[in-house]
């Protein structure tokens, strides 16, 4: 694995500067830390979303390597086609047999948890040699902050507005990393852009393995979350420290916690940093917060057992 210093010294990969992501946005750092770990050229496909829009406004592109956008729901299908063609070309002898290349698909949580889920599940079941990265900012941010199935319970979005009667999103988020792990992948990992070393270690590991791989990376969105852009990394760490976003990986069926949390912080510590949870701090929502905390505790406990950590 290359650390941040080594990354800064090696030939640049991933995104060039000058892309149009917001200040404090989580995905550009995540992409560069992940792509920097690849020792071979990377082919990237991307779902429609903030990242696609912010990095590829024609005639400009921030991508240093091959990049292809298709539709909102199809990043995993498109990378499947590319990877299949690559294998075929090798088989036909039109590419050298020892040629090496990484195939990466990227989507936000809307394009991954929701509309792209079918294509993602299909690609993983067919066991393409790909890495799918979900940059998860817990809502559809590109279209103006609509709820997704990754939006946390109680989160305010424009389509789960917090009011007097309904306190934001009603449902708990889908646990996508678990679902992907159930595809029996070569690698499934949950990471946060706030924990650089953990994220880069996971990317390094994923690239080193053949077969289908998945990474779910937590990336703050200051616009959608109503947070201070200078605090994005702190907030990305706080999600981990409150166990709202535990860091773990599943390699060939083995579950492993990659960051142990000795003193779990209350979810309200996380809520205080973002206006999307402002209403949850009011006394009338005390019971709701208790319910959320209990669910977080339950999911954390379950994860500890899976990872053989006892609890």
């Amino acid at each position: 694995m290359l650390n941040l210093k080594q990354l800064s010294l090696q030939e640049k990969k991933g995104l060039a500067g000058g892309h149009r992501a917001c200040s404090g946005c989580g995905f550009p750092q995540a992409i560069n830390m992940i792509f920097g770990q690849s020792t071979v050229p990377v082919v990237t496909t991307c779902a429609t979303g903030c990242m696609e829009i912010a990095t590829t406004i024609y005639p400009f592109t921030a991508w240093r390597g091959n990049f292809m956008h298709s539709a909102f729901e199809n990043a995993a299908a498109t990378i499947s086609g590319i990877e299949t063609a690559y294998r075929s070309l090798k088989k036909q002898g039109r590419l050298p047999g020892d040629d090496k290349m990484n195939f990466v698909a990227i989507g936000g949580d809307g394009g991954t948890y929701d509309i792209g889920f079918q294509a993602l599940s299909g690609a993983m079941e067919r066991r393409h040699n790909i890495l799918y990265i979900c940059y998860n900012n817990e809502a559809y941010m590109n279209t103006g902050v609509q709820r997704s199935s990754a939006t946390p319970k109680g989160g305010h979005t424009t389509t789960s507005p917090a009011g007097k009667v309904v306190p934001g999103k009603v449902q708990f988020p889908k646990d996508l990393t678990h679902i992907l792990a159930a595809h029996d992948l070569a690698y499934a990992g949950q990471a946060s852009v706030g924990y650089h070393l953990d994220l880069m270690r996971k990317a390094d590991k994923a690239f080193s393995l053949a077969g289908p791989k998945f990474m779910n990376v937590y990336t703050p969105c200051r616009l959608g979350w109503g947070s201070d852009p200078s605090q994005s990394m702190e907030i990305a760490r706080l999600a981990v420290e409150t166990c709202l976003w535990p860091l773990y990986e599943v390699v060939d069926g083995e579950w492993k916690l990659t960051r142990k949390i000795r003193e779990k912080k209350p979810v309200t510590d996380f809520y205080k940093t973002q206006t999307r949870f402002r209403h949850l701090l009011k006394p009338e929502n005390e019971e709701l917060v208790k319910e959320i905390q209990a669910e977080v505790d339950k999911r954390w406990h379950r994860l500890l057992l899976r990872c053989g950590e006892g609890a």
Binding site: T48, H69, A71, F72, E73, G110, Y113, D114, I115, F117, Y140, N142, T143, G144, Q146, R147, S149, T158, T159, S160, P161, G163, V165, V166
Partner: protein, 364 residues
């Protein structure tokens, strides 16, 4: 109760749907229609209705399918790429004869295109869009007030004919804020496209078979000849709609030097061009279809008996002009008539000056 307020097109359309009795809205994010689901998520609970954000456009249209089969007034909205994804569901609704309203706040294509307003979904909207022999009624407003009125009418026509109805408005109309008149929905039923006709009871709806024979809603017809029979039955309905529902706005078309024709945003711009032409001593008429399917071909053909000059203005590359040509060709050869196209595809919006310039080139 009627009301005049200052409002954004997308929100006004959502409010109109609620006032028309829609209590089930199923949405999915896509620009430039995001204000519709956002408004519905806030407003629907206030009126005891249901807002539901689906996981995809495909899911949203099939939720409309489900709610419509249960007898409810249901709606979904999207923009061009999302409307493409809904086509399967619209075809199934047409096959099952289910009413429902679909709004397309259209943007530029093909592919992801851009988020600028466009009319390049004309063929998709008026020729069927999905698979099979079917038609959707297509309503094309050109002001926010008309967007409100036609949204109300859309629910009525859908229920009257048991057919999906598409409201086709460009992104410009969805994003525009202007003074909006909300008619009393009951009064609108008298003066709007429903024209005071009473709506049939939804006795076909799947409401539970207790105390009655079970009913079926399906589009799968496997018995030899059954599907052909069903298609002929649908065709009769479509023929009836073509006879009864075609609507257009005509302004000063008699004795005009030229007729400017376009729908939606283009008609709005043409109206301004007409004023500018009048100042130059040129008499321009406006022919604006309100229903794109059924296309008011008879009216246009009648005008073509006395008129040779037509300028077709569309924010697409020669889609709408086909219907104009088909209508004019009913009464004279296209060699005799002079039909020209002013096309601005891919998110371009024509300026009134462009229209004036083209008219001056056309007229000797």
């Amino acid at each position: 109760m009627s009301q005049t307020i200052f409002m954004k097109g997308n929100e006004a359309m959502a409010e109109a749907a609620i006032r028309a009795g829609c209590r089930f809205y199923f949405g999915y994010p896509i620009t430039p229609q995001n204000e519709v689901p956002a408004y519905m998520s806030r407003r629907m609970p206030e009126v005891g209705g249901t807002f539901l954000q689906a996981e995809s456009e495909l899911a949203a249209i099939n939720m409309v399918f489900g709610a419509a089969a249960a007898g409810a007034r249901a709606m979904t909205s999207s923009s061009s790429p999302g409307i493409s994804l809904k086509q399967e569901g619209i075809s199934y609704m047409a096959g099952c004869e289910l009413p429902g309203v679909i709004a397309n706040i259209a943007r530029g294509g093909p592919g992801l295109g851009n988020i600028s307003p466009a009319q390049s979904d004309y063929w998709q909207s008026t020729r069927g869009g999905g698979h099979g022999d079917y038609r959707t009624i297509v309503l094309a407003p050109h002001t926010v007030t008309e967007l409100v009125e036609l949204t109300m009418d859309a629910f009525d026509l859908a229920d009257l004919y048991r057919n999906p109805v598409l409201v086709l408005a460009e992104g410009l109309l969805g994003q525009m804020m202007e003074r909006v008149f909300f008619p009393d929905p009951e009064k609108r039923q008298l003066v709007g496209l429903l024209r005071g006709r009473s709506l049939p009871a939804k006795d076909w709806a799947l409401t539970g078979a207790k105390g009655r024979k079970p009913q079926f809603i399906k589009s799968l017809l496997m018995r030899p000849g059954a599907l052909e029979e069903h298609n002929f039955k649908l065709a009769e309905k479509y023929a009836l709609i073509e006879r009864e529902e075609a609507a257009a706005e005509e302004i000063d078309c008699e004795e005009a030097d030229i007729i400017l024709t376009g729908y939606g945003t283009c008609a709005r711009i043409a109206k301004r061009a007409k004023e500018m032409l009048a100042a130059q001593g040129i008499k321009a008429g406006i022919f604006r279809p309100i229903t794109l399917w059924p296309f008011p071909a008879k009216r246009l053909a009648a005008l073509a008996r006395e008129q040779n000059n037509f300028l077709v203005i569309e924010m697409s590359l020669g889609q709408y002009i086909e219907d104009v040509q088909l209508a004019v060709a009913q009464v004279k050869s296209l060699q005799e008539a002079k039909i020209q196209l002013l096309a601005r595809p891919g998110g371009g919006v024509p300026y009134p000056e462009e229209i004036v310039g083209r008219v001056r080139e056309m007229l000797p």
